[in-house]
């Protein structure tokens, strides 16, 4: 919202610089986004007199003129074809150094002709009616006079951020701000008293409010004898300066009063209303309405309209209708000044995509007093500037003035909440300055009567805010926080999740953050089931329709994105929430890409190392041997290369190679291993602490074997057999090499195994160790037809 400093000065004395007053408003009332000093922005724009004008020799749509701008020599200026100029015309001329929008005027050549300035349209420099036309000054004006001086444009326009006024319907106007500024500057507030107009019975006029809940107050009157013309220059200038386009005296007055007192008004051409009547009612379903801006609207029962006997003639509190618009021919008008229920206005305005100055104010809820302020002020101005005469009785339909709100305020609580002591005098000064009335003061508790325009005050803290902000938040001291010192805690799943991400990143993974949604396309690509997903009612787009149940979709897309940028063999991990009906939990998941399927073991190594570091003992099972084999979320794995880690009944993690057809659908090259760790379960099991084991200092003997077995014999089976046949002296058996290839049978693999032997109570001899090894080899060959090679 824009505020005119000159306008504010009508109500309160302000001697501060624009910078200072802007800062004070920001610190005590609402955020100032910036201000515009009119004289400053019109600098170097002066009155110029045309001495001579002719066509530009090299351009059909350009002219050249000689201008007297109050200097010794005339200036040559090239100007557009739109301006029809003749010798003697006095117009605004921008000289070098002037700013027109983003452009700084300088002397330059246009089609080979020198131009030493620019002729300015009203719209180009934002003056008067702001139209695309040229303003002609009176001949008596001295050439070279700054136009800001001639037009008396010496105002400062302050732009307020509406966001900070959300709860303050009383501040969308100049009187409201003046009231606050008066308190900040400790000055008198001078609001002229408004006179109630005399009514008349010349014209019969009725107002019917069918839905008093949606329209608690409706004031209306008919005025006749109207002479439509332009509003006075000063009024037009004010309106333009706060961003309102002048139209004619009647419409300008309604807008002027809204900017001054905050009450939106509407003027109807009374002769266009059927039945001398105004009805405030709900629209009928599919009722049609054409608004002032010539747009068609289809209405419904949730919209409040102002209607005559037949049709809606305005969308209540939003915009008037085309049929009853004030025109040059209007002689009789009906004036409306009303309160509407905020929600119904907001919903209708949003539904019809019509946001207006009026709806902005109504949807915040104006106090009961507003309609009468706007009403009397408008009649006063209409009589003065539109020749109007009150021609009907004055209608004021309402359920009675609401009872004044009273709020208690404890002096002790003020100090407790603000953190400093504030004197009684100061409290009185601020509250009465803001029109609150202290009606009782007993034992440190004040009873405050809330003025009618303050619809936002509903508790003690609201009043304390008034006191604190007027004193200035910067006057409040900085005091350390005191209190009981208890050990703080961290939510464990988040904390351990973060630890896992750190650990994985130390091993080379990069952390990504992907959206919590995916769409039908991903559900299809991953062969998931749509109906089990939680669905967004209003997604940004169909790609973000479902809440994710796996981080895989996002991670695969990240792999694809980076493969396209020549990144190969990368590991990506993510911490995130997954969503199932009534079950949201966090996971840590990762994808690892390599050229071949050995990537599975890389993923496996990472997951198992994380489990070991957190002391979690698990069992590894192929998915098809687990209860989860039917789970669609696990169908993404190649069935030959997937596994699940369980501890008791708890499934902690899954890993596997992603199926080739899925990789094809995402256009990913190479092999991808994916793992997911269920964090709440991981955390639950990770709480056990490590137990120290005594270190065996006796010598260790290491012996290798190399065996050839058929491919279906897996390492788990061989390891189990080694442990079984070795007896108590085997300390560990590690696989150090697996070979499959040309040098051996096609259906066989060769394994290199290193075993460590150690006794707990004495030095084991080489002889004993070798004996054990022989036994192991015998058993392996018996069980698995293993061939031992040396």
């Amino acid at each position: 919202m824009k505020l005119s400093l000159n306008w504010l000065k009508e109500f309160v004395e302000i001697n501060e610089t624009p910078e200072r007053i802007s800062e004070l408003i920001t610190m005590h009332i609402a955020e100032v986004e910036g201000f515009e000093n009119q004289a400053e922005s019109l600098k170097h724009i002066v009155v110029g007199k045309v001495l001579e004008a002719k066509r530009h020799p090299n351009a059909d749509n350009l002219n050249i003129g000689q201008f007297d701008v109050g200097e010794d020599n005339a200036r040559q200026i090239v100007f557009g074809g739109k301006a029809v100029l003749k010798a003697g015309d006095m117009i605004p001329v921008a000289l070098p150094g002037a700013h027109i929008g983003e452009i700084t005027i300088s002397e330059r050549k246009l089609r080979n002709e020198i131009s030493q300035g620019m002729c300015c349209l009203n719209s180009e420099i934002g003056i008067l009616d702001n139209e695309e036309k040229l303003h002609f000054f009176d001949n008596s004006v001295t050439t070279g006079t700054p136009i800001s001086e001639v037009l008396k444009l010496n105002d400062v326009i302050i732009e307020i951020d509406n966001k900070t006024l959300t709860h303050r319907s009383d501040l969308f106007n100049h009187v409201g701000f003046a009231r606050e500024i008066a308190v900040v500057l400790q000055k008198e507030l001078n609001i002229p008293a408004l006179l109630e107009a005399e009514q008349s019975d010349e014209i019969k006029f009725t107002v019917e409010v069918e839905d008093p809940k949606s329209c608690p107050r409706y004031m209306g009157v008919v005025l006749n004898n109207i002479k439509i013309k332009s509003s006075p220059d000063w009024m037009q200038a004010r309106l333009v300066s706060v961003g309102v386009r002048p139209i004619n005296n009647v419409v300008d007055i309604t807008n002027y009063v809204m900017m001054e007192y905050g009450q939106p008004l509407h003027a109807f051409d009374f002769d266009k209303l059927n039945g001398n009547k105004i009805i405030v009612r709900r629209a009928k379903k599919d009722e049609l309405f054409v608004s002032l801006d010539n747009k068609n609207h289809k209405l419904d029962e949730n919209t409040l309209v102002i209607a005559d006997d037949n049709n809606p003639t305005a969308l209540a509190g939003i915009m008037g209708g085309l049929t009853s618009e004030i025109s040059d021919k209007t002689t009789t008008m009906a004036l409306e000044s009303a309160n509407f229920e905020p929600t119904i206005i907001r919903k209708a305005s949003s539904k019809q995509s019509l946001r207006t100055e009026a709806s902005t104010r109504h949807e915040k809820g104006l106090g009961f007093i507003f309609p009468e302020l706007g009403f009397w002020r408008a009649i006063e101005l209409l009589v003065e500037h539109a020749n109007a005469k009150v021609a009907s009785s004055i209608k004021n339909v309402n359920q009675g003035r609401p009872q004044k709100k009273e709020q208690s305020l404890s002096l002790e609580f003020i100090e407790r909440l603000i953190g400093m002591q504030i004197s009684r005098e100061k409290i009185n000064e601020i509250l009465t300055g803001l029109s609150f009335e202290i009606i009782n003061d007993q034992e440190g508790v004040l009873t405050i009567e809330v003025p009618d325009h303050r619809t936002d005050i509903s508790n003690e803290q609201d009043l304390i805010e008034e006191i604190a902000r007027m004193i200035g938040y910067d006057a409040i001291p900085v005091t350390p926080l005191l209190g009981l010192l208890e050990p703080s805690i961290r939510e464990k799943t988040t904390y351990i999740g973060e630890q896992l991400i750190h650990q994985l990143s130390a091993w080379g993974a990069r952390e990504v953050m992907n959206y919590s949604f995916y769409g039908t396309e991903d559900v299809e690509k991953l062969e998931l089931s749509e109906e089990k997903h939680i669905e967004i009612v209003n997604p940004m787009n169909p790609d973000q329709q479902y809440m994710r149940q796996t981080l895989l979709a996002g991670l695969l897309k990240s792999i694809k994105y980076n493969q396209d940028n020549q990144y190969k063999n990368i590991s990506l991990v993510e911490y995130g929430h997954v969503f199932f009906p009534n079950n949201e939990f966090s996971v840590v998941a990762g994808v690892i890409s390599l050229e071949d399927n050995s990537v599975f073991y890389k993923a496996k190594g990472l997951v198992e190392e994380l489990l070991i570091r957190h002391n979690i003992k698990v069992l590894l099972k192929p998915l098809e041997d687990s209860d989860e084999r039917e789970n669609t979320n696990y169908q993404v794995f190649n069935p030959a290369a997937d596994a699940i880690y369980t501890a008791g009944k708890s499934q902690i993690a899954t890993i596997g190679l992603i199926k080739q057809n899925i990789l094809d659908k995402y256009d990913i090259s190479g092999s991808i291993a994916f793992f997911t760790i269920h964090l709440p379960r991981f955390v639950e099991l990770s709480s056990k602490t490590t137990k120290f084991k005594k270190i065996n200092l006796l010598p260790k003997i290491d012996l290798d074997i190399s065996i050839e077995v058929t491919k279906e014999i897996n390492w788990n089976m061989i390891q189990a057999e080694i442990v079984k046949s070795a007896g108590k002296y085997l300390e560990s058996a590690e696989l150090f090499d697996v070979y499959e290839g040309d040098k051996i049978d096609e259906n066989k693999k060769s394994l290199g195994i290193r075993m460590f032997f150690q006794a707990k109570d004495r030095t084991l001899t080489m002889n004993e160790a070798e004996k054990i090894r022989t036994n192991i080899v015998d058993q392996l060959s018996k069980k698995f037809n293993a061939i031992h090679r040396f």
Binding site: R346, P477, T479, V537
Partner: protein, 348 residues
Amino acid sequence: MSNQDMDTQLASIQEEFKVKSSEVKSITDVDAINDYFFNRKKGKLTNVLRGLKSIKDPAEKKNLGKLANETKIEILAKLDKLALEYKSTTAKMSNFDVTLPGKTPSLGRIHPLRQVQEELVDIFYSMGFSVHEGNELENELYCFEYLNIPATHPARDLQDTFYVKKYQNSDIEEVLRTHTSNMQVRIMEQQKPPLRIVVPGRVFRNEAIDASHEHTFYQMEGFVVDEDVSISNLTYVLKEAMSKILQQSVQIRLRPGYFPYVEPGFEADCSCVNCDGKGCKTCKYTGWVEMLGCGMIHPKVFESAGYEAGKYTGFAFGIGINRLAMLKYGIPDIREFMKGDLRFLDQF
């Protein structure tokens, strides 16, 4: 060989060693001297020692033997010392290129939003705040209603908030949380004051994305509840925390702001770290940078939590982690965070 000869020879060997050892330039020279005197076949000292056998007189043999042995030990000791010296300092492997690139471990990275979030959490944790994350899918009671954001409030429109389709029989709508303030009442219900809490986490707004808007971003809610918590304490906590994260002492300026779940509500500005509050382009010549929204917890919120009216006071604040990260690292476009682009992520 006469005894006299042997004596002279030992002396000349000592002399010769002195000269040779002074000329040593590398370990190869040390090895050459060693070979010159001690070669098993033709070493100069080896020969002398071999000659001892031919001495008949036992006394003389003993005498000369002792002398020869002492010479041997002395030279060997000196050689060892020389060898050690040249091995450790000047033993250069020829053509070793130290300018070749080092072998970097495979690069892992923590997302910049997490880095900033963890930094914030560490600061508040050190000030006695507990850390909670909470759920991202939340019902409208905790996200709005209990926070004094009634059904008629614009924030609850479909164009601002993501709603989810009902999957259970309930009158209560579920939404993707629009702020981590959803945890305020949840935590107040479970714990009694004094409370010092921060809630970092993911939040969602249904708005079109551009360089400065994202529908998914990270926020850190913080709140303190006790019997006498004041505006003056809020300024203190913000001043301390901001000074830590920005790594210099900053000033905090509160000014009027509006959020339904606080009263009074503030916008908190931080003195510009770029110009120390003197005024520069970053702070638009005001000396202040808009930092966060905050305020004193609204009595309605305490009422929602079932706290006795008037017993407690508290403050709450919300820090935009994306915004802070953009400020800290100079990132111009908020969309970078969720792209998964390694050219971006590898920079942090």
